[in-house]
């Protein structure tokens, strides 16, 4: 078996006395889509942020063997910069050789407004699409999506899944958090989280 693109060993996160995520093992392999399912506060966002390297685990290690793109639950971009400026800035930080071209390509692909309008003034849907577009800078092989379709209309949701499916088909891996049971059909593996721990329950049992 090939080595996983991302491997997390006994990763945990505590905030003072509160344990947001108990020690958890996760592996993401090439060609798979993993769904993280669980109610609010189950630890899905924390686990994805740890896998993305956005927060440090209180314990455990994360081993990454591929470039990782991360779509946080709340759109994360500079609200005073336009969509294009945000894409160009993060492209430069990601080390993309032609940042302008990469930004232009993603603007068109996600139908984002090219006008120099602050991204903070964009609609919720546009901001979420910008959020996804930023994650795709640098052509990651692993995509971590935290409830990526929550603010999107059906057409936009379909476009996001097309992107995710294409990435998986190309040998990448996708891991997404969701509370929408219909979205689980996009996954070929499901991890159920409850109270910060991997639970040996079915999805139906968790949401019962």
């Amino acid at each position: 078996m090939t080595s996983p693109l991302v491997r997390a060993l006994r990763v945990a996160r505590r905030y003072g006395e509160v344990e947001a995520l108990a020690p958890t093992d996760v592996e993401l392999h090439s060609g798979e889509t993993v769904a993280l399912v669980g109610p609010n506060g189950a630890g899905k966002s924390t686990l994805l942020a740890i896998l993305a390297g956005a927060i440090e685990p209180s314990e455990g290690t994360v081993e990454t063997n591929a470039r990782v793109g991360w779509v946080p639950q709340r759109p994360a971009h500079y609200s005073r910069l336009s969509a294009r400026e945000n894409l160009e800035l993060f492209a430069q930080l990601e080390g993309v050789r032609d940042a302008r071209a990469a930004a232009a390509e993603l603007l068109e692909r996600f139908a984002l407004p090219p006008a120099p309008r602050p991204s903070g003034e964009l609609s919720v849907g546009n901001r979420q699409r910008l959020n996804v577009a930023i994650a795709l800078l640098g052509e990651p092989r692993v995509l971590l999506l935290d409830e990526p379709t929550a603010a999107l209309d059906p057409g936009q949701r379909r476009r996001v899944w097309e992107v995710a499916d294409a990435l998986r088909a190309g040998g990448g891996a996708v891991c997404f958090a969701t509370q929408n049971l219909e979205e689980i059909e996009h996954a070929n593996r499901t991890i159920v989280l409850q109270d910060g721990q991997v639970a040996s329950l079915t999805v139906e049992e968790v949401f019962r």
């Binding site: 905030y15 971009h77 500079y78």
Partner: protein
Amino acid sequence: MLLRSPLLLGALIAYPIVIALLVGLVAGYASSKPRVAFVDDDHLPNVIAVGGHRFHIQTVIDDVANQVTLVRLTDAEAARELADGKVVATITVPPGFLGDLETTAVSPHMILRTGTGGLAPRVTQQVQALVYQLNRKLQGGYIAANLAFVHLLLHGGHGKFLGKQFDVLGLDRTAQELTALPPTKRVAAIEHFVQQAKVGLAQTGGALRATANPITLEQAKSHGRTWVLSAQVQAYGIAVTVTFLALLLAAGATAAERDEGTIGRLRRGLLSLGELVWAKVALAGVVGLVLGAAIALVFGIVVEAGGITGGEPWGRLPLLLAGVLLSAAVVGACGALLGALSREARTASLLAVLLVLPVVFLGLVPRGAVPIAYWVSLFLPFAHAVRFFGAALYDSDPWHTVGIEGLWLLGIGAASWALARVGARTLSA
């Protein structure tokens, strides 16, 4: 809601009190005349005569007491008000003062008592200045009295000293008596001495005045800068502007990255914690530099346009701007720390605004007024920035001050940067 946050409640109560105290200290120190009790245990008359000069006591005191407000009190009242802090010092004229003064042969004493507050050194200086001014007024009488004795020695007559009356032959009449004596070598020698003594004593008036004032200070009119354009005002103006904006900008920018969630993206290996803080330091430094340069430019243009001499508005600009860049960067590091500790951009901005006032006022409180305020201000960048700018602008040899203040700023900046770096670790949590 406030009751659930005792820290916030305490800060809201304490903040205006601290600001009021600091404003009171600075304003009070800068503008008020301290109240000093004047205790007259010798029951001075309204008018006294010293060496034939007559002095109206209250007029003399009003003339010389321009740095303090003298309040006539009894011994007991003065002691009580000194203990209560209503007066900052007492000056006592002890019994026998007038008698000693009128002899012009003994220096009478006045007794000064000061409180133990931070103003004591300043009050002592002001009372010393008061006594100096009194001595200046009285020295005319003392010189006149001494010259009267010299006149008596020269020309003879009836005199009085320490209450005793006497007749003096005088050098003029001595010379006349000597001419009536047979001319001998001894008489000639005495006549020669009398002539020498008369010449010597004739110089006494000038010598006494020179002894009283070995050095006379004449104040020449100049066309130097008014206080509005002074180096101090310019230094404070730039320091306040830079402190306010750099702190607000760095704190707001740091906290905004948390608000907008971009800190999480950046922390994914795109930027290190140190680089995150450096970005805010650089931002504050560049903005501070532009603002400082603009203020210095305006001052320079006003000075040039007004044809005002004193100071070189352009020659020291590079040194000043180096100080502005350093100070703004250091304040930026403090701002980044503040932003890292705040939960959101609005809180960070509010905290920055609330903090600027005490930081500035602490830097304005003179060392003698409240020592603790001075010591606290040593560990904040404002006072060092002011001293750096002041020295850079117009000290003839600024390097010593610039070096020391630059080192202080670097130290404060390094500490703030390190703390902000630790604080930034919590931003993406």
